[in-house]
Symmetry: C2
Subunit: 372 residues, 2 copies
């Protein structure tokens, strides 16, 4: 007797999981909205007025299908990065591009390597396509362990190695020479995914020159962070044109929506807005650092739009996150060793930072009283 259609081998082997729980889901569980939404590294500085205008105009012809080649945007990005249109791939955010990369390079049973506790969606996709994920611990100073990542890639014959630079959740980064040396050491048959979602917030010495002749590297960027287009779902990859051709064989050709395409293109043409956001974020990071020092909760140096406050202990961090939640503040307690002693807080707008400072101070005092 059959019991109806059967799922694929991979689906049957998987436990239910989501990459991470959304603030909307938490709000539905709480029965009320958050007062401060500082847990998803969204931009508190909105979107460019030029992008707003372009997206508004895009609504006028939304009854048309989108351009599956995203030609205008790819042309603008190619110009910006000094590469060709054929070396740019557009996706519905880096999440989409990570899934597509796993699908394009891994067979079921193949291994991918990354840091234990880094951005979880890469591992989600590796498992979702039947791959095995090999985790490498962070160093004691909360950085990706480049040497150990390379060793693990060699040892496991890894197809993919994922590195976020600057990193999430730590906010730490590696400089150009450090990344170059790392890339030179990675085995030739392993593709390195450089997730550069936060690179606009980092000093110019972060990241390496873009060399698309090197088939071993794919760089991923997003419009979700500095450009504030998180809800529009759009990101891009820069890589060898042969790899883009491989993606084209299987990708969802009509996946990226017209509003996002218009907003992204217009965002690239508003350098003033971009500069302002970067400056505001720098200012906010500095304020968080001062706040952390004042409260005895030192922050990790960050090159992103978020900051990790060190609570020294997992249980305390959990308690602080909970007390903040009670007060309507959404932050994340990062997952696993060594980050579960931290709370990760997005750099808010000046008003949001003032409110956050008051509430965190209140919670810190409360905990001092408890721990006495």
């Amino acid at each position: 007797m059959s019991n109806g259609p059967q799922y694929s081998t991979i689906i049957r082997s998987l436990e239910p999981s989501v990459p991470f729980v959304s603030p909307f889901t938490i709000e539905r569980d709480m029965g009320r909205p958050f007062r401060l939404r500082l847990g998803a590294n969204e931009s508190s500085f909105g979107i460019s007025p030029k992008a707003f205008k372009a997206m508004n105009e895009a609504l006028e012809t939304l009854y048309w299908y989108c351009d599956p080649e995203a030609y205008d945007l790819r042309q603008a990005l190619a110009k910006r990065h000094g590469v060709t249109v054929k070396e740019i791939l557009i996706g519905s955010g880096i999440d989409d591009l990570l899934g597509l990369t796993v699908r394009t390079f891994m067979d079921p049973g193949d291994v991918a390597v990354t840091s234990m506790g880094t951005y979880p969606t890469f591992a989600y996709h590796v498992k979702g396509y039947g791959g095995k994920i090999h985790f490498v611990p962070y160093t004691e100073d909360f950085r990706n362990d480049l040497g150990a990542l390379v060793d693990a890639a060699k040892r496991t014959n890894a197809k993919l190695l994922y590195l976020a630079n600057p990193d999430n959740p730590s906010g730490t980064h590696y400089s150009k020479p450090q990344v170059e040396s790392f890339l030179n050491n990675v085995p030739d048959c392993c593709l390195v995914i450089l997730d550069e979602a936060y690179i606009e917030f980092a000093p110019r010495d972060v990241g390496t020159p873009i060399q698309t002749h090197d088939r071993r590297v794919i760089r991923m960027r997003t419009f979700s962070k500095v450009y504030g287009l998180a809800g529009a779902r759009i990101g891009y990859a820069i890589t060898n044109s042969e790899t883009v051709d491989a993606f084209d064989k299987v990708r969802l050709h009509y996946g990226v929506n017209s509003v996002a395409l218009a907003g992204a293109l217009a965002s690239l043409n508003d350098p003033t807005f971009e500069r302002t956001v970067i400056q505001e974020v720098q200012r906010g990071r500095h304020e968080y650092e001062t706040l952390g020092n004042k409260l005895g909760l030192p922050v990790l140096p960050s090159y992103t739009n978020f900051v990790c406050f060190n609570l020294q202990d997992m249980a305390v961090a959990k308690r602080v996150a909970l007390e903040l939640k009670k007060r309507g503040v959404f932050v994340r307690q990062a997952n696993g060793q060594p980050f579960d002693r931290f709370i990760r807080v997005t750099v808010g707008s000046p008003t949001e930072r003032t409110i956050f400072s008051e509430i965190l101070s209140e919670v810190a005092t409360l905990l001092e009283v408890i721990h006495g």
Copy 2:
């Protein structure tokens, strides 16, 4: 010697392909835009003013990530269809849902069945996940051959069977009792994908009652057609909640953008707009029928927002499509037997229909002269 990272087994086995060429791509090749865009079954009647307003408002908080559970929209759809929220899945259009269904139910080497010449994106995804596609010819009266589809599913031990009802590109349809009888005959272990993208344009007797206890059926609907949200990329599936749980294990959780979610929800709350579009499309189909009769190019009866004009011969249809293109009119010559003798034309607005009527008449006269 290694030559860098290797693609997956499936990617290496695939020839380059796209589901179909976009009008934007054709325009870039031509070096000028189309005057009439009637080849992609987009809606010439725009979007609901309520949807426009909702999407405009959604831009205000676009710096937030979207709700990965699409809760509000799923709730509204559940209410509309008399099912539960857990029986609704949102995707970036039916294309996305087709890919996810293939991924969730097929192992590489498994077989899927569909009609030769129907909507091509299903076969694109089957091949893209390493499956085999088995095509069944249409009947002589240009309908999906339900008996032959069932026989093929049995013979090939198919995991999936795809049926568009109303059909694309023919515009033909099957009634409730016909589909029910078909579903009863499909083997128990085969999932039937009922693509109902055009169902709002069909009489109420099309389609079957929605019975989500039946794990053998997944119905797919879209906001791209009657609601005019093609560029926003949003559609949904109605199926058993266990199947939705299976999709949740691997789907792109942050794939559907906030603008689309807002526009879709608002569209559901504008029945007046929906009714108007349906009436306009009926009127347009009737006009096309009259035009076809006048020109000796009889149309297929259609229950969609497009009409097939019969040119009786593949070479003539090709020539007509080309002459229309020269005059700035984008239509499709459908693919393969028996449809390659047709041109498929979207129902345009009244103005578009007037222009189309003039140009098609001119082309028909020209061909008469040529063929003497």
